[in-house]
């Protein structure tokens, strides 16, 4: 068998060594960004929201829309941890809560009715001032909130802004769907 040249063998060894080192660091989590300093905040918030969603489900099953709205508004009024404290997932949870609250209000205008402008203000409150799609990782909850915002803008006759919001939401959903299809195909 022909022997490898020393230079080629050295290069192959270095590449292999580098890959093994990188793989080891990656698997051990050393390459991941630093974890948020207060993971317990996200843990508590996530459990609270999960429980509240179940409670709202039960209230809606009983036809108590006002109770469901009150529960969601109560969480909205609570003090939320920042993404710097608890991680970016806090933003996703926030969009989830506000999306459900707004959908419930839009679908039930007869209960504690709010004008489209007031609802739009709630949507903007959830997204935050100067929100850009690239600020948060693509997820279904942010896409839904952006869609609802477009719907409210449309009701207010601000069609251009509404279409822009719809495009943002559809862009996120398209990426999510492509990712899901890619995972199914692999």
């Amino acid at each position: 068998m022909k022997r490898l040249s020393p230079t080629l063998a050295l290069v192959l060894g270095l590449v292999l060594g580098g890959l093994l080192t990188y793989g080891g660091l990656h698997l051990s989590g050393r390459l991941a960004p630093p974890a948020p300093p207060h993971p317990e905040l996200l843990m508590t918030l996530g459990q609270t929201l999960d429980a509240e969603h179940h409670r709202v489900d039960l209230l809606l099953d009983k036809g108590d829309v006002a109770g469901a709205l009150a529960g969601l508004e109560g969480l909205r009024a609570a003090t939320w941890p920042s993404a710097a404290e608890a991680g970016d997932t806090v933003v996703v949870l926030r969009h989830d809560l506000y999306g459900r609250l707004l959908r419930l209000r839009i679908d039930n205008p007869e209960v504690d009715g709010r004008s489209p402008s007031e609802l739009l203000a709630i949507a903007d409150e959830a997204l935050g001032a100067g929100f850009a799609v690239g600020d948060v990782e693509g997820n279904a909850f942010t896409a839904r909130l952006l869609g609802i915002r477009g719907e409210l803008l449309e009701r207010l006759g601000r069609d251009d802004e509404a279409l822009s919001a719809y495009e943002q939401a559809l862009d996120i959903n398209r990426a999510l769907l492509q990712d899901a299809l890619g995972q199914e195909g692999s």
Binding site: Y22, H26, T89, N139, F141, R144, D171, N173, R174, D179
Partner: protein
């Protein structure tokens, strides 16, 4: 054909060379006369050495090969993987390559935990996006006229959310679990630190 050994007598004036092969025969004969007592090996060895210096003996090819084989491990240069520069240089270069890979790698959290936001540099048109997205979900596709309107987009987005919500909630729950495990680990670390 053995030659008759020449016996030297005091009266024999002819000097003999020290390399004369008769020396060995005379030494052997003398040893036999003494009843085999004593040893002439040292004298014979000196004679062989002197004769070899005068007329070097050639080794047989087999003996020569055996000698070279015995010397080869010491004479052969070390392979590259046994040299000192390799032991020092290879780990250093491998570490440098790994460091470059690490520094050149962007944050992996987004890739590992969920899909990314679509590239804003290539937005789809508002006309084609609802139809394309509806095709991918398998949800009922609105008519072209309806897709042009914002209301149809809101409907499509709600349908998308209905399809994506279960997976998104599972992912959220997974992230909360990760933070729960992290919080538990932090608490354990603090507890161990306070004990020690």
């Amino acid at each position: 054909m053995s030659e008759e050994p020449k016996l030297r007598t005091p009266r024999d004036p002819a000097p003999r060379q020290v390399l004369d092969p008769a020396w060995e025969d005379e030494l052997r004969a003398g040893q036999e006369q003494d009843g085999g007592a004593g040893s002439v090996d040292e004298e014979l060895a000196a004679l062989h050495l002197l004769r070899h210096l005068r007329e070097p003996e050639a080794l047989s090819p087999g003996d020569l090969d055996a000698i070279w084989r015995s010397m080869e491990p010491q004479l052969r240069p070390k392979p590259w993987w046994q040299r000192a520069w390799f032991f020092v240089g290879a780990p250093a270069l491998a570490s440098a390559a790994a460091l470059l890979l690490v520094l050149a790698t962007p944050s992996s959290e987004v890739e590992s935990e969920g899909p990314r936001v679509a590239d804003a540099s290539s937005p789809a048109s508002s006309e084609s996006a609802p139809r394309a997205a509806a095709d991918e979900t398998g949800t009922p596709q609105p008519s072209p006229d309806a897709a042009l309107s914002a209301s149809a987009s809101a409907l499509v987005l709600e349908q998308h959310f209905a399809a994506l919500e279960p997976g998104a909630r599972r992912k959220l729950a997974g992230r909360v679990d990760v933070r729960r495990a992290q919080a538990r680990g932090d608490l354990l670390a603090r507890a161990r630190g306070s004990r020690s």
